[in-house]
């Protein structure tokens, strides 16, 4: 079936299977930043924005985004790079596999929360698992990036 979607600000028409999930659709169209690391909606690696809200692309049927707007990290290169510079300066990307989903959620948080406290930051980012870094470096990077103490 066909869907019309705005992907990273571009209107596209894609053919999707009825039971295809968004993560697979995005990857099959070359948006390879979107990673998948579980089958139970638990890891957050597949995070993209649906109408500017962070969601799990592994759990959204592609047919249901017809007429909607999707953003992946490829769609926000400037902001992503800006934060990635802070993240890498902190050494807080290790294998990097979790980074794209994490960055999408950090940017979403920046848009949604004004001057979040450390507790609010941790709460907002809890759905992004990372097995490498132990989270502390990521937290330092986010705080530096947001300019909060």
């Amino acid at each position: 079936m066909q869907i019309n979607v705005t992907i990273n600000d571009k209107l596209v028409t894609w053919d999707v299977k009825k039971d295809e999930f968004l993560v697979d659709t995005l990857r099959s169209h070359g948006l390879l930043s979107v990673k998948k690391a579980c089958d139970t909606s638990c890891c957050g690696l597949c995070t993209v924005w649906l109408e500017d809200k962070p969601v799990l692309s592994c759990s959204i049927l592609s047919l249901r985004i017809h007429g909607k707007k999707i953003t992946t990290i490829e769609g926000v290169p400037k902001e992503a790079e800006e934060f990635a510079r802070v993240l890498t300066a902190e050494g807080a990307e290790q294998c990097g596999f979790c980074s794209p989903g994490f960055i999408m959620n950090v940017l979403a948080m920046k848009n949604e929360l004004l001057n979040p406290s450390e507790e609010e930051i941790i709460h907002y980012l809890t759905g992004n698992l990372c097995r490498c870094t132990g989270y502390m470096g990521q937290l330092r990077a986010v705080k530096t990036y947001l300019g909060v103490l």
């Binding site: 009825k18 809200k53 962070p54 799990l56 709460h123 759905g127």
Partner: protein, 265 residues
Amino acid sequence: MFTLLDLVQPDNLAEAYQILSDKRNNTILGGCTFLKMGSKRIGTAIDLSNLKLSYIKEQAGFIEIGAMTSLREIETHKRLMECFNGVLPKSVHNIIGVQFRNSVTVGASVYSKYGFSDLITTMLALNTEVELYKSGRMPLIDFLNKPKEKDILVRLWIKVDNRKAAYLNLRNSASDFSVLNVAVSKLEDQWTVVVGARPRRAAIATSASAALSKGELSIEEIEDAAKRAAEELSFGTNMRGTANYRRALCQVLVKRGIMEVLQCK
């Protein structure tokens, strides 16, 4: 593997219900997080997105929550943070993460009657009604006790009253299912004690609730009520805890819940 043959987005509930009843394996979609883990072959998937059921509003003394409202909306809704000492937002706070809660729906969470549910436990301590397309409007407790039958959960009605409430849980780790969760509320002198994730579905501890509703409460009476709750309800064992541990926890959490409610403004 998750499979479905067709997906429809009906324009009205009657049509949605018609399709749902057409075939045994026709299914309503929430956020798909639970559905996608199953291996059931879905015939026609029914997406309620076009029915404007994603909303929270206050009207005529009720808070109305549409079935397609996300848990994240519950978590961040201003009015819900004020009502009942903010127990509804609190109760969904620990469920996986923001992205997850942006995706999953209230309708699925209540309709599925999950034993582990934090939301049902909390709603049961409030004056909550469920509106189903076919069976109509009924108290949440009646819905929970009713045998499962194909229907559409359309919206929830929560009576806005002067109830004080508390929600507590114990989790082995922060984003895990609750080992046990508890909600306690008090409206005038009427107490309601609810215990969920036993691991069976949430239930009201009626005897404990009645005991509390007798009036002035000494610490002994509070402890006695907590003990009653632990005695009157049944508990089971699963990977996250044994029945005995849950029973002990029940007593502790119910006691703390009562104390918290007594301190509520």
